[in-house]
Symmetry: D2
Subunit: 308 residues, 4 copies
């Protein structure tokens, strides 16, 4: 009890156009720590993540997301959730340990929005570089590039988001934190779901085209680090989509920008702590602007139209 089952977003594999250029970008500009390579993939983690990898880049000649994986608290829970998914009518696939470096068996399934989601319970603890005895609060890795703490969440685009919400809440133990209504006042444009006390572990926007990635989010420590991130983006001519600013939803501070392949990423800070006994927050269509970008109070043209 307390925290069991699905713990957190643990890894995402994205497609990139030029792997070498992307490795350079993710290492030195975003400032993730490279932890591995295999045939066509490079493995990264945020400096303060302990598990071996959280972002995997695949050399694919195009942008987009391959899959998004959640870490589960134990092998037993992995087996149980696999059974629960099957009982719910979901087709699952076991991907054997080792297919991803330092990662155990993964249970993969497709959700109604057209995305590949995974659960897994094992990933090698490689530490954050400070060790587990008398560690300093941070180390030199925390100042290489933007240097996010961790991969935090993702926003994905696709149809049938209510079916995804039902699956995540009924089977995987997530709860609805916030949602934005469409003009009809009933249908959701977007939903934010949490499996923890984070304001979101995954979010979805309704979209005709299935299986799309809006952004992968990386966590920063403070609004001042958000400014530093924006500065580093400009110093490196990274295309900034929006920000620094605040979201109405989650209250988090944010910058959206694009990696060299055109995959959007977010450097995110803050947001409140939410709990499963939480009454969800509702944003109405007339306030969709401040819901997404609290200061501009309107969506920028790219928000709904640009994804990978």
């Amino acid at each position: 009890m307390a925290m069991t089952g699905v713990l957190r977003p643990g890894h995402m594999q994205i497609k990139v156009i030029d792997l070498d250029e992307s490795i350079e970008f993710y290492s030195n500009v975003l400032g993730l720590v490279q932890t591995g390579r295999d045939a066509n993939r490079a493995y990264f983690k945020g400096w303060d993540e302990r598990d071996h990898n959280s972002l995997i880049l695949r050399d694919a000649g195009e942008a987009g997301m391959d899959f998004f994986g959640f870490k589960v608290s134990s092998d037993a829970y992995l087996n149980q959730l696999e059974a629960d998914l099957k009982n719910y009518g979901v087709t699952t696939e076991r991907i054997p340990a080792g297919e991803l470096l330092e990662t155990g068996d993964r249970v993969r399934f497709e959700i109604a929005s057209g995305h590949q989601i995974e659960l897994y319970s094992q990933k090698k603890d490689v530490g954050n570089g400070s060790g587990y005895f008398n560690p300093p609060p941070w180390n030199s890795a925390s100042e290489v590039g933007i240097a996010p703490i961790r991969m935090d969440h993702a926003l994905i685009y696709g149809p049938d988001i209510e079916k995804v919400q039902a699956l995540f809440c009924d089977v995987l133990g997530f709860y609805l934190v916030e949602h934005i209504l469409l003009e009809d006042g009933q249908t959701d444009l977007a939903i934010w779901l949490s499996c923890s006390t984070k304001a979101h572990d995954i979010a979805l926007v309704r979209n005709e085209e299935p299986g799309k990635l809006h952004h992968t989010a990386f966590l920063l420590e403070s609004w001042e680090k958000v400014l530093r991130a924006a500065d580093i983006m400009s110093m490196n001519k990274v295309p900034i989509d929006m920000g620094p600013t605040r979201h109405g939803v989650t209250r988090g501070t944010t910058i959206y920008a694009f990696d060299p392949s055109g995959n959007r990423f977010e450097t995110f800070c803050g947001g409140y702590q939410s709990y499963p006994d939480w009454e969800p927050i509702t944003w109405t269509w007339d306030e969709v602007g401040p819901a997404v970008f609290y200061h501009d109070r309107q969506l920028n043209p790219a928000f709904l139209s640009v994804y990978t």
Copy 2:
């Protein structure tokens, strides 16, 4: 699954020497929101807490803690945990709904360190003043006094903390996040336990005298708010025990100070996110100074000797 059972520290009842003076202090200096009164008690919450109360002051002519309560995710879980506690050999008591304002049944039990702990599943949602439709990120209540977001955790002093750890981990689903070893390199001086992704929901320091309170902690949003808190303390001649500084344990930034009755409280910010799959961090006795106060690198005399 995900987050179930024990969710968070939900309420603490402390004893105060002069209730009127304490109401003034907690309302206008610490900046909690008063939500109720009964015969000899005043009820408060942090501005961003939704539940009716999190800190209850009891007019007692002395300082100290009456009980510390954790909110549980449902009535069913409350019943199950009550049964689990009994099976574990713990004597529990049901305190009927309404004994605390706007709060449901509480299951109370004493732990080996001599403290009264409670579980409950119902407390009235009174909101944070911004409503659940299109809310602003903060409101005027967030700038009255120090204005913490929420009651965050407590550090309590007593004997047999390994028994408390066993109970909290084996029955209530907590996990060990950090601990400080005594000179023998084996026995814990102090333990930090979490039931969430917070770096601590409760902490204990080994102490001969049972049932003592070291501090109740209130959450702030940023290091700049910690500075503002210290300024407000000095403007109001609140005795500051230590800070602003950083803890080695949890990495959080902090000020310790005393309420008018001599109860220590903490205004706390930050700390990492931890998870139950976490390898605990160990501090050795020779580093107890930086473990507690990272900058001074030594305990202040009051840390181990002053509690209520």
Copy 3:
């Protein structure tokens, strides 16, 4: 020596369309302190300014700037600068003490860009509310609305800015801090001038139409206060033109927004300290975007076209 003669931007009188609405805005949203009223004007100061007024609103049925005044270190310097201006060929006018509340004689003159500039040496010290004995670092006035510390500088639009630069540098003791070149690589689009260690006390952009105001800037203490300002703007539906972001020029962080009359104002923080022995920084035309908005790296359409 050291600091003598022209000390700082001391007051600006702007035109507003509806005085009552403007008083409400400047008092409660921007959070200036109202210090006076006369027939058709309202007087304000930033909470930490000691002089009686720094922003005067004139009920004019339209937007724009009436005049921008600089405080001079003594009556003797005022007389000397008046003589210096005349020797330089500038026509000056004495406006007698009292025409502006609590303000001494003003020496007014028009500069080549078509703006009315004033010098004065006397304005009543009304303090910041904390007194001059054992003052706290801030007081409640510093949290009413956006609550800038002071009126900091202005950016004005007009022709012949090189003539203005010559006058300010040769007669008034300013120095050039930064400038942006037009496409020809020789002519300045914009200049930033300082009479102190501030990165700018006045700035000018070349513009055919004379006598125009781009923005009046108000100083904030930190990037976190800039975020708070943006939040308050959105809570009050203040139209934000740009930001929060950083300027390339001065490195300051910033938000541009509009008052109810359409006068642009800036909430500004930071910027380096410059000195008269400073080699000016030059921005070339191809980098005009990051010069102005360092993160977006392009001018927004309003920057060059909207002024009052």
Copy 4:
């Protein structure tokens, strides 16, 4: 006019016990940029200072200050101030250009407190590493060690501080910003003097022993950088004397710590902008605690007794 004559504290030469150890400390822990070496001295500057050096370490086998120098706006002003000093009865000495690397003629004199003060007008501009065309707001040098922006001011200890105040104000153009009174309510314990809009360019504490250094202060950009500085100090076992905290005087945030020779230094941020038309702030003896350390509200034992 405006800013002429004495501009700013420009260089300080201090004595160190072990030059190699000190170079290591000032380069990698405090994070100054080394710009030169001569027989027994090493030269440093803050990353954002443009002049060749601001801190010179002399291999002396002991701690302390050799001299503190102020940059003057021109050779003409240097000559004039030299004459003014002589007229005031001060014995001056010309130290020829080149005795300090990349530095012009220096006019040296002893003040009543027993310190060697210098004026000079020439020091080579070596830039901050970003150049004077389209510079980024910061560069990699700003994150090496604590990385202060600049040497900011010094607090020196000695007798006859009223004579020093008279000399600095009457001859050099400084003004009194704040002062702390002794128990008699008349005599100053300490004075803060400015030649700019900085809250202090030099400060003095009355002390029987002449010619002593309390601390040299280095400027940081934000309270968050102060926290980072404290962390770096602890990571490197630098003895922290006090902080992070706030001063009542100047409102600045601060840490006091000691270099390997025992010279105290300060990492300082903030403080208000003051001007020569400023009514000085007075602290009375009963409030000397908050005047110096606003949060602790008492002097630490070292403040008055430890200097070099």
